[in-house]
Symmetry: C2
Subunit: 177 residues, 2 copies
Amino acid sequence: MSIRLVILGILNQQPLHGYEIKQIIEEYMGDWTDIKFGSIYFALSKLAESGHIEVIEENRTGKRPAKTVYQITASGKEEFLRLLKKAWCEHKQVIFPFDMAVFFIKYLSKAEAFQYLQQRIEKVTQQLNFLNDHKKEHRQNPYIPKEAIAIIDHSYYHLEAELHWLQDLLKNIDDYL
Amino acid sequence: MSIRLVILGILNQQPLHGYEIKQIIEEYMGDWTDIKFGSIYFALSKLAESGHIEVIEENRTGKRPAKTVYQITASGKEEFLRLLKKAWCEHKQVIFPFDMAVFFIKYLSKAEAFQYLQQRIEKVTQQLNFLNDHKKEHRQNPYIPKEAIAIIDHSYYHLEAELHWLQDLLKNIDDYL
DNA sequence: AAATTTTTATACAAGTTTGAATATATTGAA
DNA sequence: TTCAATATATTCAAACTTGTATAAAAATTT
């Protein structure tokens, strides 16, 4: 549940309401996380329930839903550090949904498999190019923290690995059909 | 939801009940999927509800829960191919939960970050060694399909990428703290 | 042969995720 | 200025996941 880590990490800097948290996640983590806004509100109420954050303001403008501003508590700061250390220590195995597709390759015709593989190779190549440009922009912008570049590199290294593996797969496609 | 793909793919070969499906998943896909047995029964009832599979036998031995044997239907075979092609075409971005940990690196002391990173490097190295042995075994066993080796290679390539990235991170750790 | 552990088999409650629904304010275009 | 589009802000029902509970047969130990 890295969503609790994110929210506590963000609220660790300043009190915010749900929508602002959503915007920060989208702006700074949008490229490498996939947190749905529905989950943010659920996590906020859970964290509030357990006393890790607390409501400091309910700001109603006109008849719009009230902005509920949350602030991190002392126990929340502890919980944040606990979750952060846990995230640094635990090594969850990465799951590749595409492995499932490969597992059932025998139900595809050779032509189909060939075509799909080429499309994947093309897509990954595009993503690598995109990340390259993205990284150059980031390097030139002094406001982007260095960690952001490390995180882009993370994706870059794995996309390279993916590309090489896909190329091997294409080369040996006859073995699998 | 690759669980529907898995179940349809397995039932595409022969009728089976839930527990047998669980065993097949554990035996053949245990290394690279993470399907909990609870989800299998949920998926089975959903697939039955939509007519993609049907109950062909309810075998009660004594007072144990009845074995409910499912068989794929014509519409299930169609659905299987649809899901398989979808899985081959779509390129879901892989999420690395560790990125979140890196994002908040500034809340860690240098000594801590250093130690955690070295532990991760050690762990990934172990996994690479394990996969190497695993692959050798698989190559010598004529009953293991070639796709299985391709899937191991998939993890291997990505673990290598992870290792190199972690080594870079360790080298440049001072930039991030 | 009695007791313990493991394996077989599923149901289900509790927790979580998701996206659609809701309601209003603000911005920009015609 | 008035209409449409976009941005603000959250709630909630429905779908899904997870692990625990249940129950008994089979295998193993004592």
